[in-house]
């Protein structure tokens, strides 16, 4: 593994752990979603970075090149990005509805209000 490979892995792992930490540690519903998004983005990098072959070109067959990078991870991640966008849109929509119903987007306050209502 060359040093760029190691660097990309380090970034991937950092983003992954940072995202997951935000999801667990933050109380604010929007911030949690931001963390979730970072966590998902780290996975995109996990797929995309190893797809780059040093010296490889786009997979268009030509006599001048003999090394080609695989295009498949990019296609997969395009799909994963769509899934991520859908998740984020739905998550934000639910947060809007929660705000309308509770008047807050802090998780502990929501729990408090449910307790008071009882």
């Amino acid at each position: 593994m060359n040093q760029f490979g190691a660097l990309s892995y380090a970034i991937t792992v950092f983003l992954m752990v940072a995202g997951l930490y935000i999801v667990i540690a933050r109380n604010n519903l929007i911030k949690t979603l931001v963390g979730l998004s970072i966590f998902q983005t780290a996975v995109y990098l996990l797929y995309i970075a190893p797809a780059k072959l040093p010296g490889g070109t786009a997979p268009v067959i030509s006599a001048e090149f003999d090394a080609y990078s695989s295009p498949l991870p990019h296609v997969l991640i395009l799909t994963a990005i769509v899934v991520g966008v859908a998740t984020m849109a739905l998550g934000l929509a639910i947060v809007v509805r929660i705000y309308e119903a509770y008047g807050t987007i802090e998780e502990d306050e929501i729990l408090n209000r449910d307790r008071e209502a009882r």
Binding site: F39, V43, L76, T79, A80, V83, T87, L90, G91, I94
Partner: protein
């Protein structure tokens, strides 16, 4: 190619296409008719595919005629046809029930969207079972999950929104863990086709990334299948979702996740590799914890739907317990309990949905004296409850007995004792209902006898009757499960 050659893909495409059609229809009745039609076709296709698998063995379908492993392959074998049958049967029974049920719970202008989401959820769940491609499985997992978040958020109580949000966060973490695992497998093998992946993994000498992938997939799917203690999303989601949604998702959502885990353990990694990783021991401990702790929590609930939800966590424990035993009989117990419990819980949630509609809530105090006001519903719930306990004559008994046999086969008598002891806890939580419904007076003595509408009561009673029928004649369920378990372990390394 004749039409029957396309059954594997039609199984998924028919419900998938019905979702946008339901949106275009806009009128609730039209949307209902479209989705209903699609789900009955899906049920018919599942039956046809099961027959096909029985007579010809594994059915492989290359999407777009691209041969696997390059193209996406749909692969139906003994296990996946079994799961397809469960999911589509539950959908076909729950849909007629939906109509009256959601009229009371969902605003009328959203009905067509409800049916559309239901169809998407169904398509996703069927897709997971049908596909033979790892990334395709991830996409279907997300399709069904996103649709189920919406369905849960449609509940009347504002707590449904919070429950749906929590499920969204935990579900997405689970799915992302799963896709990390797949990414590692893909980097190691360069293929996404499960059968091809399995062959190439056998030739891999560098085991570390493979074991990491196994760990990621196990944790991710455990979140999705609500393995104790990763079940935090489940009780609220089941409690506050509309009744029809609780019934559908409780019977299918977690079960399909267990299917994915089985598929990866036995068809991709191979039993030898997975159980070398001490997965069996971990699953065993967590399953026992689920059986006892979740059952104990269920006993003290004051809301009947929440009680059933915790009971689901406990029952998932029995399924994973069978999986952890690493034997054909254990796996058979797992697979048969998948179906038996799915059926019983669907019936129970449907009956409770009827009670909620009439009494206005699922709190235990609301159900007081239910025997007087809704005798048929109460009797059905008791029968379903007996199935949860595992009384002989119910479907629950068949799977528990199979589980006990698997434990005896390993000479682990304490495990047999644990299975029986945890069933006593199930007696305690079912008794809670019996006590409230049969021995307490109705809170309003003037209430007259009033059952749920027939379109809700009939499907619910049918499901409960089926759970009794499969308790008396288990050749179809137990036989199918045994074939699937044999097939899985027979082809596994």
């Amino acid at each position: 190619m004749t039409l029957s050659a396309h059954f594997p893909v039609l199984q998924v495409v028919v419900p998938l296409v019905s979702a946008p059609l339901a949106v275009l229809a806009r009128r609730a009745t039209a949307a209902y008719a479209i989705v209903m039609f699609a789900s009955w076709i899906a049920f018919g296709l599942a039956i046809a595919l099961t027959m096909q698998v029985r007579s010809e063995g594994v059915v492989s379908y290359p999407i777009g005629n691209w041969p696997p492993p390059w193209g996406i392959e749909y692969r139906i074998d003994a296990l996946s046809s079994f799961v397809l049958l469960l999911v589509s049967a539950v959908a076909a029974v729950v849909l007629p029930y939906c109509r009256r049920s959601i009229e009371h719970e969902v605003p009328r202008e959203q009905h067509y969207l409800f049916y559309s989401m239901f169809a998407l959820c169904l398509a996703g769940l069927l897709g997971i079972a049908a596909t033979g491609d790892a990334f395709n499985a991830f996409v279907f997992i997300e399709i069904s999950a996103l649709a189920s978040y919406v369905l849960i958020a449609l509940g009347r109580d504002r707590k449904a929104l919070v429950a749906s949000y929590q499920y969204l966060i935990l579900g997405t973490i689970g799915a992302t863990f799963f896709v990390i695992g797949i990414g590692m497998l893909y980097l190691m093998t360069g293929t996404l086709n499960l059968a091809d992946m399995s062959e190439r993994l056998a030739a891999t000498s560098d085991l570390r990334p493979v074991l990491t992938a196994a760990a990621f997939i196990t944790v991710g799917m455990s979140l999705k299948l609500a393995l104790f203690p990763l079940h935090q999303w489940l009780p609220n989601a089941y409690t506050y979702a509309p009744s029809a949604v609780s019934a559908f998702i409780a019977a299918t959502g977690t079960k399909v996740s267990i299917y994915v885990l089985m598929r990866f353990y036995f068809s991709v990694f191979g039993a030898g590799l997975v159980f070398e990783l001490a997965v069996g021991e971990v699953l065993l401990v967590l399953s026992l914890a689920a059986m006892f702790i979740a059952s104990a929590i269920a006993v003290v609930q004051s809301d009947f739907k929440k009680l059933l939800a915790y009971s689901s966590v406990a029952q998932v424990g029995y399924i994973t317990l069978g999986l952890s035993l690493e034997s054909v009989s254990g796996l058979t117990a797992s697979i048969v309990h998948l179906v038996n419990h799915g059926m019983t819980k669907a019936g129970l949630f449907m009956l409770v949905g009827g009670a909620v509609l009439v009494t206005g809530g699922s709190g235990m105090d609301r159900l007081a004296g239910l025997r007087r006001t809704m005798p048929l519903t109460s009797f059905g719930i008791v029968l379903g409850g007996l199935g949860l306990i595992g009384i002989p004559g119910t479907a629950g008994f068949i799977s528990k007995w199979q589980l006990v046999l698997a434990a005896m086969e390993r000479q682990e008598w304490w495990l047999v004792f644990a299975i029986v002891a945890s069933s006593l806890l199930a007696v305690a939580y079912v008794w809670r209902f019996v006590e409230v419904a049969y021995f307490r007076e109705p809170s309003n003595p003037a209430d007259r006898r009033r059952e749920a509408p027939a379109t809700m009561l009939v499907p619910a009673v049918m499901v409960i009757a089926a759970s009794i029928y499969f308790g008396l004649d288990s050749s179809l369920t137990l036989g199918g499960a045994a074939t699937a378990a044999d097939f899985l372990l027979g082809t596994s390394r």
